[in-house]
Symmetry: C2
Subunit: 152 residues, 2 copies
């Protein structure tokens, strides 16, 4: 199943359809690669007055239902992405300098036997989070330039 219509998705999961959930889920479908609960909340039209707590509750619910998945935790804040065949699991790169998060080329979850086999016998792997950290190309270049200038 790979629904892009919020109402259909909620119904398919047997969830109560409310205005707030529709707005939140539709926004999730419209969002780019990843988002935080706060970004989601801010992206919602303010006249709808969806409470931040409601956004958190909805995201948690959608995560349990497999409509959304957590792609990483940075600082004390969680990043989510819509879970659908158009957005397969993939690694992320976080720049220590500018803080930006980059989506990397997908690693195939099912084929990545090697990653999953890291877990021992009897373990059930439901999620793999792969986060790389360091300097992005832009910040690395800037740092090199600064070093040169400083070294003169």
């Amino acid at each position: 199943m790979d629904l892009c219509d919020a109402r259909e998705a909620l119904k398919a999961k047997g969830l109560t359809v409310t205005e707030q959930r529709l707005a939140i889920l539709q926004k999730i479908f419209d969002m780019g690669c990843y988002f935080t609960a706060k970004e989601l909340h801010q992206a919602l039209p303010s006249e709808k007055r969806v409470d931040l707590a409601t956004v958190y509750r909805a995201v948690r619910l959608f995560e349990r239902e497999g409509l959304v998945r957590c792609v990483g935790e940075i600082g004390n804040c969680r990043y989510y992405a819509k879970a659908c065949i158009h957005n397969p699991p993939h690694a992320h790169f976080r720049c220590e300098k500018c803080g930006r998060l980059f989506c990397l080329r997908p690693f195939n979850f099912d084929d990545s036997k090697e990653l999953i086999s890291l877990a021992g016998e009897g373990f059930e792997v439901r999620r793999v989070t792969l986060m790389l950290e360091g300097l992005c190309a832009k910040c690395r270049k800037e740092q090199l330039i600064n070093h040169e200038e400083g070294g003169k």
Copy 2:
């Protein structure tokens, strides 16, 4: 360098040697696979009266200096491990049921060209965090048993 003596390690890094840092770093060397700042704080002898804030500051400092590394963030809390050749980077598994964290067999950071190559040209990868999540063997077994009983 792979020091196991707290005082030597601090000196080698050019850091001020204080009673508190000695106690904290020595405890880190004595700790098992991973620890949180709070666990570290609680593990310290209470008569020393090392403040929790001091522990946080020390851990952050040690991380910057490469004595310690962050192995993952779960919920809003960070897990650290001592960084030394006896404790090479390795994946972790977190059980969704019991919350336990397991150390998995190490993946070789230097050899894992494949993981690092996920980042694009020009990116500098300084850290790789690989976290698997799901059910540990014990919780999985318990769940199977419960399902059987429930299905009778």
